[in-house]
Symmetry: C2
Subunit: 128 residues, 2 copies
């Protein structure tokens, strides 16, 4: 059950707009674009469809986990694992050696990269 149920004008256009840009638009930009063709479309429809298309894996949502921020005092080097089921966040401790390939990306990139963040996703042992 990963298929689109009804391809309405609105849904079609929203998907088209996102597929045809190389930027990583926010909802309100998509809204502006779609409105050019469907002037009376509502923001609610944009959000409903974005969520729908993400669920159907037609597009990706580019932010991490839940809406509210989390804080941490642990200043040691580590990454995080987030459980998709319960949303809990765990630390993953690795040794520096494992970072080689990431350092390579940093050096070879045309961007001036200061730091990076790496997060893993899955199901934690409690939820399994």
């Amino acid at each position: 059950m990963n298929d689109i149920k009804r391809m309405t004008r609105q849904r079609k256009k929203i998907l088209e707009v996102i597929k045809n840009t190389n930027n990583h638009p926010k909802a309100d930009w998509v809204y502006d674009q779609v409105k050019k063709e469907i002037p009376n479309i509502s923001l609610g429809t944009i959000y409903r469809n974005l969520n729908y298309l993400v669920k159907k894996e037609k597009i990706k949502k580019l932010n991490f986990g839940s809406s509210s921020s989390r804080y941490e005092g642990n200043s040691g080097l580590h990454y995080h694992f987030r459980c998709k089921e319960c949303g809990k966040l765990f630390n993953i401790n690795i040794d520096i050696g494992n970072l080689k390939s990431i350092n390579k990306i940093k050096k070879e990139s045309k961007f001036d990269i200061g730091y990076h963040r790496l997060e893993f996703y899955g199901i934690c042992s409690d939820c399994k």
Copy 2:
């Protein structure tokens, strides 16, 4: 100028609470904890101090970039680079070979990892 200006009771307790947990608490959890000792503290103070402590690099904020979500239709394998200055998001294309060490982490982890996300930060060429 990276030092704390005034160490109020509130600020001290907030920092202590975050330093003394291995979880990755949200603001409202910190609020609940601190309230046990300072019952009339306000949520606004919690947020102001969390932001302050992040700016002073005493703690870390564990979420990415801006508050609103971004979407993308590009289903190819790539990571992202975010400019700290203008907030723009760029793609970073790498070849699969570079992922070895990440795959190693996945295999060796005690967690059941499905996928991962990697994001790089710095200043983009336009902002420099």
